[in-house]
Symmetry: C2
Subunit: 197 residues, 2 copies
């Protein structure tokens, strides 16, 4: 029984390697290439770890780390949906729910339910951990855009009001980090990397 | 003061993006390209998360996750040292200690000391978490080699006895996982992906 469960978890470990092949719209900070979702998930977990002292609400760090690690794992099946893509966003939820069912379902009990539930919480912003992790999940690409002369904003014709609206989640995570993010947005406008509007 | 600490941690978050550009000898499991250390660190943290029920010793999962996340962060300065490279391994410790000093030193107190200590523990195998994480850190590239027809073994002329010796750490992590690993090694020999010797 123990061996069977271990083999199931090992199967899961092999399957999720595929997340390294899912490309996001964001570039790595030196602009060399598009970022993939596995390395982004590591970066997010690290950000959660070192920015947790600035969380607006009290959070359970261990739960927040697990959430960061699994938050985008559904993209193995569902692909990355660009946050400003309103058409793809329409059926995003259904595609991702089916993916979560399949991927977390590879795990033995009770891990399958535990990680699936953490992923649902992330999606629903239903706990302090999810509000913190979701806020940082917005902050990292905002920093990437600020470091790459607004690469994905320019590419997709995104303007300041859209950036402010989509990144408002950062404020729920941490007012200190939101102040920082708002300054990055203003700087980007000043430098001509983001259009007013 | 709070804002100053937050800015220090944000500086750290920006700096560690560079780990995405450090290439390892191992390929991603579909063989498409070399793996980088950031995505490997995510994969290791996920493996820790889902394989923790099979740990040989009782571990603190939250501490083990932090350890997996930071275990290779020194490679930003020190580069990846191939586990079978005996020459590069000679000054590996000195290079990595200097890197740890600089990189963890970017963080505000007490995070700098906390994460630096966790990294030292990983290196020294001085606690159950380090023995578990270090074992899985060997298991993942072994699976990669088994999935890519022994790519990095063949490339560097590594033989079975070296693989068994270097991967013995897996046994310290989990006897169940060591049984699995030993079978992968035998299979690789049978298929001609690893030389006897």
């Amino acid at each position: 029984m123990k061996i069977e469960s271990a083999l199931q978890s090992l199967q899961f470990v092999e399957e999720i390697d595929r997340l390294k092949g899912v490309l996001r719209q964001t570039l790595v900070y030196d602009g060399a290439r598009r970022e993939n979702t596995a390395e982004h998930s590591w970066h997010l977990a690290m950000a959660v770890l070192v920015l947790s002292p600035f969380a607006e609400e009290k959070i359970d760090l261990s739960r927040a780390l697990k959430m960061a690690l699994v938050h985008d794992i559904v993209e193995i099946d569902a692909g990355d949906t660009f946050v400003y893509d309103t058409v793809a966003s329409l059926d995003k939820q259904a595609r991702e729910e089916a993916a979560a069912e399949r991927i977390f379902g590879l795990l033995p009990a009770p891990l399958d339910t535990e990680l699936h539930s953490i992923w649902i919480e992330f999606e629903c912003l239903s706990c302090p951990e999810s509000r913190f992790v979701a806020g940082l999940d917005r902050l990292l690409p905002l920093i990437a855009n600020s470091k790459t002369e607004g690469h994905s904003w320019k590419k997709h014709g995104i303007v300041k009001s859209q950036v402010l609206e989509k990144n408002r989640k950062i404020e729920g995570a941490s007012k200190t980090l939101w102040d920082f993010a708002a300054r990055l947005v203003e700087d980007a406008v000043k430098k001509g990397h983001l259009s007013e509007g």
